[in-house]
Symmetry: C2
């Protein structure tokens, strides 16, 4: 088990779409935690380059994260929302379904063999799980309920990542239905450890050493941390997002940006469009990609997704390696 | 401090409207935890009888909980909802504002002097806080954000109860606005302990010893537990609610029953009316009281409020004293 060999029970959360970088992952692995690359939204070629860059930075183990593809949505379910955005004069893309390059990225992982592959938005099939394991790649599945934990255990996952409602960015739930239950981390940890015997990594709103100590005492084997690393110099967090993370502004779950439930710091776009947003991913993600990209470039924090967890105000602008060691050592005390 | 003298860091949550009984509170206090009476919804006379009954059962310390009155709501804000319920032919009460007998219950507390008075739905004024403290009654204030924690500390509270989103029953937030932020327990604990130096009791979804250990490691001085005691023989939980608590059915936050956000196990009434329910408390509480009372009596679990926390499926039907000791001792291990 990769976790058994770690110096510190600190796992970097993959943060697709910007904050994740090879240098951030390398710094966490080098400090004795487990770095992670987010391969979501990247082409297989770009993913391969990031893996190569990370291998140039550290000899230690790291993980990579993939999005499990879902089903295309009925156009009727999202057409009114797209029409509303269009009438507002926003710069839009096409409501295209895609599988985020699933086959080519799986092939890349089998070829490059990182220590861990983790999955979000679903559970890979038993065949995929066993192929990865045979290749020496540990399979971690992100779950948001006891039912998902049972399914991942049945399919042969090595480790579960229990993602609480507090987490920033997308909910990892296997389905994108409107009525998916949303559990807080501590409730979820109890339900998941009662349901299955696998090692569980806790994630969602863990920003400080006391929270690391808390989840370890509550039965987790490690803490997966994202937002608390977003202000690190190694992170790819854009300035407007850094500013929002350092503020005390509350977060909210929204489908406004991508058609999938995700937690972000409240801003004007969420306020204006959140109530009407359909469950249609990645169609809405692809529709809003141009306007989000432009807003990000312009530093307009009211118009793109400010993904962050509930405890973002406690994030510190420290080098990632230093933070990894501090979180683990203070948690031990 | 009352907490310092407890044998076990286990505090019973006040569960107004049924599950709270003097025998439940007495059993928890007698076992070395801190029992609590819910005085909400009771007349001062009934509250006095419960305090007397509890004093007949235990010599140990206990707490009582009060609802802090809010503001009357604009009738326009709730009239359409009431009309909808009326058209459905339901048995309704009047949309009456009341202060839940605030003055008379405060006077009762000053007279009977329980060890602790805790508050929900708001922070008592500095004058009320200091009057209670002068009478030897510790003041605990339930908070749901760092801002509320700061206000309670400013007004002189002795202890804060940090209520996470996972908690069953009403959210304790000081305001009943639609856009109040909702923090998971572990995120809230970090934010509250970073904001103020007071002792913090953690509550919300704590159903097992590992979660008790978790919140203690995360900086809480005790765990306040409600749902996990709902199946105890001493609890006043009605049969249809016992059945729902023992099931795996998911919970949801709703305003459908009372006009204030509360977590309950999903049922037909919530599904049917939740989306339209206004923020108007206690007006809607008073409107639905007759239909809820009738459904409770008839054992119709689809039509009354099945308040329960997110980890309710882990509740065990054990005597409350036994559960208190088991939670504390297993948490220590």
């Amino acid at each position: 088990m990769v976790l058994d060999a770690l110096e510190h029970p600190i796992v970097l959360a993959p943060m697709a779409g910007g904050p994740s970088t090879p240098s951030l992952a390398g710094a966490v692995s080098d400090a004795g935690g487990l770095g992670f690359l987010a391969l979501g939204y990247l082409t297989a070629e770009a993913a391969d380059e990031q893996i190569a860059e990370l291998r140039g930075l550290t000899d230690r183990a790291f993980g990579v994260n993939l999005f499990v593809p879902g089903q295309a949505s009925d156009p009727d379910s999202f057409a009114p929302y797209v029409e509303r955005l269009r009438r507002a004069g926003l710069q839009l893309g096409e409501p295209r379904f895609d599988d985020d390059g699933w086959d080519s990225k799986l092939a890349l992982i089998l070829d490059r063999r990182p220590a861990v592959a983790s999955f979000t938005f679903g559970c890979p099939s038993s065949e995929v799980v066993s192929t990865l394991r045979s290749a020496g790649v540990e399979v971690w599945v992100t779950v948001t309920s006891a039912d998902e934990a049972r399914l991942a255990a049945e399919r042969g996952a090595d480790v579960l990542i229990a993602q609480g409602a507090e987490a920033g960015g997308h909910r990892a739930s296997f389905d994108n239905r409107i009525d998916m239950p949303v559990y807080g981390l501590l409730a979820l940890l109890q339900l998941v450890t009662a349901a299955v015997g696998l090692p569980v990594v806790a994630t969602g709103g863990i920003a400080t050493a006391v929270a690391v100590a808390g989840v370890l005492s509550a039965g987790a084997v490690a803490a997966q941390i994202g937002t608390a690393f977003m202000l690190a110099p190694e992170a790819g967090t854009v300035p407007a997002l850094r500013e929002a993370v350092a503020s005390g502004r509350p977060t909210e779950l929204t489908r406004a940006f991508t058609g999938r439930l995700a937690r972000g710091i409240q801003n004007r776009f969420m306020d204006e469009y959140g109530a009407d947003a359909p469950a249609a991913y990645p169609e809405i993600h692809n529709v809003t990609a141009p306007l989000r990209g432009a807003a990000r470039k312009a530093g307009d924090g009211e118009s793109f997704n400010l993904w962050a967890g509930e405890a973002h105000a406690l994030a510190e602008a420290l080098p990632a390696g230093e933070l990894t060691v501090a979180l683990a050592e203070d948690a031990r005390r």
